[in-house]
C-alpha cells in the first residue's frame, strides 16, 4: 500500500481496514511535525497536536470530501489543532516576562555556528504573534499561495499579506539585533 494514492488508502480504511491508516501516518508525519514544531515551539506540544490531528482525521474520515487530497485536509485539521494548543499555551506563559533581546543574546554562544543561527531563528519565530507566525510559515516554509492560505485559514488575502509583511519586518528586526550586538 506504500505506493498507493491517498484516495485508495482512504477508501480501504473506510471499508474497515484500520491498519492501512499507518501508511498515511508515515507519509505525512515528518513534514507536518515540522510545521507543528515551528508553530508551537516545542516537540511535546508538536507531537500532541500532530497525534491529535491524525486521530481526529481517522474519526472523521468518512467526511473527507476529497480523499485524493487527504494530505491537505489533514493539514487543515493540524493548523486548527496548533491554534487551539497555541492559545492554551499562550494562557500558560503569560505569567512570564519576555525580554526578547536578552533571550536572543543569551542564545548567541557561537554566532558563526549554523546550529546557533538556527536556534536564533527558532527563538525569533516564537516571538512573533501566533497569527503572523502562522501566515509566515504557510507562505515561506509550506510555500503556499495567498489564495490557498486564505482557503485554509478562512482569513482574507489582504489580511494575510499584512500578517506576512509584519512577520518579515519583525524577524528582520529581531535577528538584526542579535547580529549587531
Amino acid at each position: 500500500m506504500e505506493g498507493s494514492s491517498d484516495g485508495v488508502i482512504v477508501a480501504r480504511v473506510l471499508r474497515g481496514d484500520a491498519e492501512v491508516f499507518r501508511v498515511l501516518v508515515e507519509r505525512y508525519r515528518d513534514r507536518y511535525a515540522r510545521y507543528a514544531f515551528h508553530m508551537l515551539g516545542n516537540r511535546e506540544d508538536a507531537e500532541e497536536a500532530l497525534q491529535d490531528a491524525f486521530t481526529r482525521a481517522y474519526r472523521s474520515l468518512s467526511r473527507c470530501e476529497e480523499p485524493e487530497r487527504f494530505g491537505a485536509w489533514l493539514f487543515r485539521i493540524l493548523v486548527n489543532r496548533c491554534r487551539t494548543l497555541g492559545s492554551r499555551r499562550g494562557r500558560r506563559s503569560r505569567t512570564f516576562v519576555v525580554d526578547e533581546v536578552a533571550i536572543l543574546e543569551a542564545a548567541e554562544d557561537h554566532p558563526a555556528d549554523r546550529n546557533a543561527w538556527r536556534e536564533e531563528i527558532d527563538r525569533a519565530l516564537q516571538q512573533l504573534r501566533a497569527d503572523q507566525r502562522e501566515a509566515f510559515l504557510l507562505k515561506y516554509v509550506e510555500d503556499m499561495g495567498y489564495e490557498e492560505m486564505s482557503q485554509l485559514t478562512g482569513v482574507g488575502v489582504s489580511a494575510l499579506k499584512m500578517r506576512v509583511m509584519r512577520a518579515c519586518d519583525r524577524l528582520r528586526e529581531l535577528l538584526s539585533e542579535v547580529h549587531s550586538a
Binding site: 515528518d30 497525534q51 491524525f54 472523521s60
Partner: protein
Amino acid sequence: MMKDIARELRAPLSPPLSASFNGRVMAAVRRMPRHSRFRLWSRLTTPRTVTVIPLSWGLLAASLALFAIIGATRAFDDVRTATKPIVTALFPSSRVPEAPQRVQFVLVAPDAKKVAVVGDFNGWDAGHASYQAQHRGGGVWSVTAPVPVGHHRYSFVVDDSVWVADPTAPRVVDNDFGVANSAIVVQEQK
C-alpha cells in the same frame, strides 16, 4: 534574509519524530470503532471463491418453498391492509401533523471563524443554510432553526472541521463514528 530563514525552517525536524509515534497514533486509532460504511457493498462486489456443499442446495430449496407458503398466506392480509388508505381517505382523522418547532442552539467559541449545527434533522449537513450560527459578540454563536418534534441527535461543527458536542446538553455516543453527539427532545408547544 527571508530566503535564508525559510531555507533553515524547511529542513526536516532534527532529530525526527520517534519511531514510537506511529505506534501511539495507531493505538489510538485501534481504540476507535472501525469504519464500515462500504463493508456490505464491498462484500457484494469483491470477487471471491465460494465453496458449494450439495446439502446447501437442498436447504435452499426448502427455504424457498417455506417462503412461498408464507407469502401466499400473507397475500390475504395484504388485501385487507390495502383497503386501509381508502377508509382513511373517506374518514380522515382530526389529528394534524405536528409542525417543526423553533429551537435556539448556542455555543461559546471565542476562536471560531464559523459555527454550524448538524443533526439527524438536517442530514448532518454542515453547509445547510438554515443552521449556520451567527456570531453575537463575545465569542457567543447562536442560531434559531426549525427542528421536528421528537428525539434527535446533533452537534456543532466549528470551522468546518472540529465537531463539538453541546456542553449544555446530554451526550449520546454515535455508534457509526464513536463521536459523542448531543441529545435533544423537541416537544410540541401547547
